[in-house]
């Protein structure tokens, strides 16, 4: 096994920083890659919000540059392109690389005491595959007719040549396929590494919850990314070779046809687990951070793991709730409604365990801790509003309105992003050897959570008002004109939210090169990753540590002055 041998550190720049097989370098590559895409996706979001609050007026500053033919105004086609690419980029190129790629790569070997991933080369390939996918997606913005305009869900027949021409949609499908392939490589690597390379003495129940979250995510990745991959392949066949997997006979010139609903099934079999693919690592990180900064053991560790496992299993059997208006058989719909609602039980268990963890703790409100607490807040909002959408008789009205937009942004975007921010502030000292500014961090937190809540809660009101999503201009229909003021509120808060992220960017870049030097264990936690020197040496552990304690042994009564203990030390009897 590769973890057993220590190869000399590569010396050439290319081997060391670009085509590195070192999980730490790959983690940083994923991090930078993801953050840049988050910026791109974020700018797109700002443009979408601008258009919605000011339909048909030119985008200030960048409009003239991006949309020269319309004098800076976003035209309907470009608008569709923007929200499609915003969704695709944020999910596949922003959050996935940061949460799973960067922190998965960083945390798993260090936290379980391994020298590297079990398949380092596959690991490198995983990054370069997603990079290629990103490049294909980015390139699609510049082909004739621009990038795809069929929405990030890419429903046929709109996504076949019936609805979209040019190469944009085809390239989009190729990009998603590549990104999916990358996630599968990563997933196989994570699962095998966690199973095989845990340090001696590390039982399954000694793993930090971050690792558990990443483990379940990896399982979902390996199981469900192949489904979206096959859906994309069929779509590419339909577009390029003129097959008709998704095009019904009624709009074919020939006799045989397919079924557009097939795609919806394939997409959501993947699409619903994808929500949990993004949120499970965040849950794991949050559960750890809450324990670390409350200086208290994670409450009900095994129950938490069990709840995460239950969510993982359930995520595979609830996808039908995305299709209640498609024309699903009534009994099937009701089954999906019941199954979806059952998710609230493990969800509630997680919440109570987190809240129990901080109860009677000794809370250090660092920026990471604030973001972890923020996840409880935003995921509370997002998760609970899922109840409206799980219930068929309310979903029929709310489906495809801004209610849905608010709901999934709070769950899979805001919560996952908060998890990512918390993790960034937390792991930064070990990754880059410097501290991020706590003052700026806290400012970033408050300037994020307040406008974010306003943005997405206003969307709930818009959605309850009946405002459909993916509309270029909500003032076009009489019914929607009285709701337009909500768009203005959302947009203004969104601008503030967007601007607040610049504080993070500034903090990140400045701290990366000019921040104060970090000590080896600034947060005083016991997991293996914080027990090694900063910067982490090549091949991590000169000698593989032996684990003797759980990851969350804080404030043990017999510990004396110190309220934490490394996992390599034994608890005093």
């Amino acid at each position: 096994m590769s973890g057993d041998h220590i190869h000399p550190e590569p010396t050439s720049f290319l081997k060391k920083h670009v085509f590195s097989v070192d999980h730490k370098v790959i983690a940083k590559q994923f991090l930078w890659f993801g953050l840049i895409w988050l910026l791109v996706g974020g700018v797109m979001a700002m443009m979408i919000r601008w258009q919605l609050a000011n339909p048909g007026s030119p985008v200030p500053v960048i409009g003239g540059l991006l949309f020269p033919r319309t004098g800076g105004v976003i035209d309907p086609a470009s608008y569709n392109m923007l929200f499609t690419m915003h969704g695709t980029i944020m999910i596949f190129l922003g959050l996935t690389p940061v949460l799973i790629g960067a922190f998965g790569n960083w945390c798993i070997p260090l936290m379980i005491g391994a020298r590297d991933m079990i398949f380092p080369l596959l690991n490198m390939l995983s990054f370069w595959t997603v990079a290629l996918g990103g490049a294909v997606g980015f390139y699609s913005l510049f082909v004739p007719l621009g990038a795809t305009e069929a929405g990030w869900t890419g429903y046929p027949t709109l996504s076949t040549t019936v609805g979209t021409q040019g190469d944009g949609e085809t390239l989009w499908a190729v990009a998603v396929f590549l990104i999916g392939a990358s996630s599968i490589m990563g997933g196989i690597n994570y699962i095998t590494t966690i199973i095989r390379l845990r340090a001696p003495g590390m039982k399954w129940s000694d793993m930090p919850l971050t690792v558990w979250g990443l483990f379940f995510t990896a399982v979902l990745n390996v199981l469900f990314l192949p489904v979206i991959g096959s859906a994309m392949l069929l779509l590419i066949m339909d577009r390029v070779f003129g097959t008709s997997f998704y095009v019904p006979a009624s709009i074919m010139s020939g006799a045989s046809g397919g079924d557009p609903i097939l795609y919806q099934h394939l997409f959501w079999i993947f699409g619903h687990p994808e929500v949990y693919i993004l949120i499970l690592p965040a849950w794991g990180i949050v559960a750890d951070l809450l324990s670390f900064f409350a200086r208290k053991p994670a409450f009900g560790y095994k129950v938490t793991v069990g709840a995460m496992f239950a969510v993982t299993v359930l995520s595979a059997v609830v996808y039908g709730h995305h299709m209640f208006t498609t024309g699903m058989y009534a009994m099937l719909g009701e089954s999906f409604m019941l199954l979806t609602m059952i998710i609230s039980v493990p969800g509630e268990i997680l919440f109570f365990n987190w809240l129990h963890t901080i109860w009677r703790g000794s809370l250090r409100l660092t920026t990471s801790m604030l973001f972890a607490l923020g996840v409880i807040f935003v995921f509370g909002l997002g998760g609970l509003t899922g109840l409206y959408l799980a219930t068929i008789s309310t979903d029929i009205f709310l489906h495809d309105t801004y209610f849905v937009v608010g709901h999934f942004h709070l769950t899979m975007a805001a919560s996952a992003l908060f998890g990512a921010f918390g993790a960034t502030y937390f792991f930064f000292p070990k990754m880059f050897g410097r501290m991020m500014s706590e003052k700026l961090g806290k400012l970033h937190f408050w300037l994020t959570i307040v406008p974010l809540t306003v943005v997405f809660c206003t969307m709930f009101i818009s959605g309850y008002g009946g405002m459909p999503r993916r509309y270029y201009d909500h003032t076009s229909a009489d019914y929607l004109v009285p709701l337009q003021h909500l768009n203005t509120i959302t947009t203004h808060s969104a601008f503030l939210l967007g601007a607040a992220q610049l504080i993070f960017a500034w903090n990140f870049i400045r701290s990366r090169w000019w921040g104060p030097k970090a000590s080896d264990n600034p947060w005083e936690v016991g997991t293996l990753d914080w027990q090694m020197p900063t910067p982490v040496p090549h091949y991590n552990f000169k000698e593989i540590p032996v684990v003797k304690t759980g990851p969350h042994e804080f404030s043990h009564p017999k510990l004396g002055d110190r309220d934490w203990i490394p996992q390599t030390e034994e608890l005093p009897a």
Binding site: V303, T325, T385
Partner: protein, 285 residues
């Protein structure tokens, strides 16, 4: 913790500049959207028999969700305010793995399942059986049947006209305008020529996809007369946002007269030889 204290100076100006940007953008957009229109903070009053059930269930869920969220917030705020780190203070050492804790978890789970899920589920199932899935019998005289053929970017409607049969000369055809009677169940057969659309009547609390290649079914019963908007709720291309029509609900007497007249005009406009213009399908239920 030493490292934490040695922070570099606070860049006040940079932060101020960052925050000024959205304010400036906000001012720009405030000028562009200054409109004197009535504002609304929710949907219009329900105009169909589904309306009350929907409102009731929506607010039931809102109440349950609000209470749950309030509990979460309180349990979040108490430790944040009370249990902050102080010198010499140690956290309570508790793994939460005792039998007592497990029992607590089980009880809370049960409460959540019964109150949050089962309650809503029971109400929803009742609503569905009496409402959305209680599709009116097509043979019933009272049922007003409409075939909806969606396309990029318009709604084509076909009603049977006076003879109650589809595919005859007196079928009432219209684009983007649908006229229906008040207090009679309106049954819809939906399909599409090209991409997926969704037939959305916000005032009636109805939404159903129109899929190409298959017929989808929906129904509603208007209880208020007047004019309402028809929207498309499934991304269908560039002019998705412009794909709307008008629903006109007429009182019984007025409607019957309208139907007679519409049929008469339809017969006049019918061209038996122009087969390309004809479309209709066997009623699906």
């Amino acid at each position: 913790m030493n490292a934490l204290r040695s922070l570099f100076s606070f860049p006040t100006k940079a932060v101020a500049a960052v925050l000024a940007t959205p304010l400036a953008l906000g001012l720009l957009s405030a000028g562009a959207t200054a409109q004197d229109v009535a504002k609304r903070w929710g949907p219009t009053d329900p105009a169909s028999t589904f309306g009350e059930d929907f409102q009731y269930l929506f607010w039931l869920i809102t109440t349950l969700v609000s209470v749950s969220f309030a509990i979460v917030c309180v349990l979040l705020l108490i430790p944040v305010l009370r249990d902050r780190a102080k010198p010499g203070k140690k956290a309570h050492y508790d793994h939460g793995s005792s039998l007592h804790d497990k029992r607590f978890t089980a009880v809370v789970s049960l409460i959540v399942f019964v109150v949050l899920d089962a309650w809503v589920l029971v109400v929803a199932m009742k609503d569905l059986r009496e409402g959305y899935w209680n599709i009116p019998a097509p043979d019933d005289e009272k049922t007003y049947k409409v075939e909806v053929l969606a396309q990029q970017w318009a709604w084509n409607f076909r009603a049977t006209g006076a003879d109650g049969e589809f595919g005859t000369a007196d079928d009432i055809l219209s684009t983007n305008t649908l006229v229906v009677p008040k207090d009679r169940p309106v049954s819809l057969n939906l399909t599409s020529k090209d991409v997926i659309h969704a037939f959305f009547l916000p005032d009636m609390r109805v939404k159903r996809d129109a899929n190409p290649g298959a017929v989808n079914i929906a129904w509603f019963q208007p209880v208020v007369d007047g004019e309402f908007d028809i929207l498309c709720a499934e991304l269908c291309g560039y002019a998705h946002y412009q794909m709307h029509g008008k629903l006109q609900v007429l009182e019984k007497g007025v409607f019957d007269e309208w139907e007679q007249e519409a049929s008469r005009l339809a017969v006049a406009a019918h061209d038996a030889e122009d087969t390309e213009a004809h479309w209709a399908w066997e009623w699906q239920e």
